[in-house]
Amino acid sequence: MPGRDAPGSGAGTAGRTAGPVLEARDAVKVFPGVTALDGVSFSLDQGEVHALVGENGAGKSTLIKVLTGVYRLDGGEVRYRGERAEFGSPLEAQRAGIATIYQEVNLVPQMSVARNLLLGREPRGRLGLIDFAAMRERATAVLREYGIDVDVRRPLGSLGLGVQQMVALARAIQADARVVIMDEPTSSLEPREVETLFAVIAGLKARGTAIVYVSHRLEELYRICDRVTVLRDGRAVHTGPLAGLDRLRLISLMLGRAVSEVRAEGLTKFAGHHDSAGEPVLRAEGLARRNLLRGVSLAVRPGEIVGLGGLLGSGRSETAKAIAGALPLDEGRVSVNGRAVPGGSVPAAIEAGVVLLPEDRKAEGIVPTLSVRDNIALAALPRLSRAGIVSEAEVDRVVAAFVDRLRIKAAGPHQPAGELSGGNQQKVLLARWLAMNPKVLLLDEPTRGIDVGAKAEVQALIDELAGDGLAVVLISSDLEELVEGSDRVVVLREGAVAGELHDDITEDGIMAVIAGGGHG
């Protein structure tokens, strides 16, 4: 509203038609320990669909949050419709005409579809009271435009995620948005719904609305996007038209590896091939889970590091969780040294010697209120106790050994683990599992979000552990890490194994399988 009847809108009109509608110039955003945006410039023209791509931690979500007023910039500026913009909150950005549709649906699940759609703009009847009949009618009509035919009186949360996503979209676009930012809008949609979404996007584009489209699904990008900006490590490494940009080239830009470049010597701390003879210690067969996994099989021998490749959402983390008992399975079985492990039970998996370093360190790993010492000892407590009483000497011995071996840097063993850096938190979690003497180590993004030095240390450690005879499954978005760390790489796509690379593991090879070229 304020934007619309602002004085001097004449000058604004000129700026609107000529320049980009939304722009970031040399945007810098620093978090403690990490530079999330390192001078990113990004511009969005009227009526274009602009793809924003990059792997995890590349800075996509930070850029979106900077553009929509969630974060304040530490350097550079955001310009909207030709003027410097400083949105204090997402709500301000939204009122100015920038709508965001988040990956997780940001609506109220308990309220009805109609109420969600029209909250704050309910049709009023006599005495200024809400007219429910009119509200139902309007909501039904609006949603029908999006090809959705539901009882709008039902609670939103009782509907499928796809429908919820479309309601969020309909709500955002209703608000006369000039810019619509879509963060992975199709991740929960059925194919038919995706088609509807694309039709909506085409309609918006025809109206002159600018769209930022974030997705990992390359097919979609090529179908609907005009331009692409690739982010990597907080920098915009490429901006240009999408048509004519080779698919392999796009992947190589995202992952930061030149297609043809083959290094003689790696940059990671992985030493290379391990002796991995003998029978597999871990066997996973036909792991299936509705919407997530479609029959993944995997076998790992002692001393072998098997990489799990694939883009985000391909089922990498889900495979690891299923093996570790943290994700219930519809079908499939896991066995260790030939003995079946009961599914869906973490204690059973741990008992069998299978442990998982989870992807989300904060939510699923570290107990922030507990000390470094207690975090390390957490899983092993029963083994470090006698008659239910913790043997402090034993704990001290184990903790000291791992703090030393993993070079965990903390003010002391009694410092709360929540205060440590990401790298040291990761080492604490590794120590927690190594204290259990596992047979199989599942590592989900073990080096993500930790600084270079700690990264090298963790990589060297993984190598050493495999050398000691552990079976390791390594999940990483960092191709270099995958190529140099793994003895074998299994590539997943859409919840199934798409291919496997044995002796000649190259980034090009992995990218080819990811891109759908097929490889074995």
């Binding site: 609506l107 699940p109 308990q110 309220m111 809400i130």
Partner: protein, 321 residues
Amino acid sequence: MTLTETTRERAGTLFRQHGALVVLGVLVVAGTLAFDTFLTPANLTNIATASSFLAIIAIGMTFVIISGGIDLSVGSLFVLGGVLAAYGSQYGTLAALALPLAVCGLFGLVQGVIIARTGMAPFIVTLAGLLAARGLMLSLTGEGATTYLVEDETFAAIGQGSPAGIGYPVFVTVAVLAVAAVFLQRTGFGQNVYAIGGNEDAAALMGVPVSRTKIIVYLVSGLLAGLSGALNAARLSSGVTILGIGLELDVIAAVVIGGTLLTGGAGGLTGTIAGALLLGVIQNLINQAGGLTSAFQQVVSGAFLAAVVIVHRFLSRRAAP
């Protein structure tokens, strides 16, 4: 698979929304069959009048709980309101009504501001409010030793009069309910209360004035607790200092039995009224049965509350995603 899930989900919603009403109906039928004296106009109005004080507070609590909060101070505010009304009645009818509403409303307002501005847990803030209101009440009554009598006859009549055999408190409850229902269901404010309780972050992103809505909700809860206390003082002709302590828990029980989720974002006033009446009917039936103490009523209420949440939990438990 999907069919049974939907059926179960529907059953859950239906049970939550109308369970209290159904059980109330069953109890009324059972009471009628068991006791000749149950389904008489005198007994029914008796139940309605006795339940109305709880019901008025529960209406305010319903707003609070739907918004995702809780208000532990209402029991103390109820007593404080009664004392203030009796004290004020020496200055006339208006003072007898205005004084409790002003002070209890102010209590609610301050609690709301603290909750909305500092982000402290409603549980703690209103726990402090409970103690502070009780302290204020005690200091007004010479540590509970003084009982103010209602001096104003017009005011006393509000509590004691019963046109057409129905006590004024019942009319007040119905009026409060009607206004509250319109606000909760038919205004933007009501929509905002649901939205905040359902998903506070999303509500903020959807443009809901979160702080203001929360403040109003606690203000309303305080006002209604004061009103109920004043009515009770009028009925008893005095500001009794011991009744109603611990009432907050009965109120919460009535709201939860009525199908409003403590997690916020869902619920309604019909259920709350049914919940309050249900507690009243249980008490009445136990009195009718004779030989059973009111303690038995507590056992039944507690068991009933547990049964309600268990059934609801099992019906609403979703299959893993």
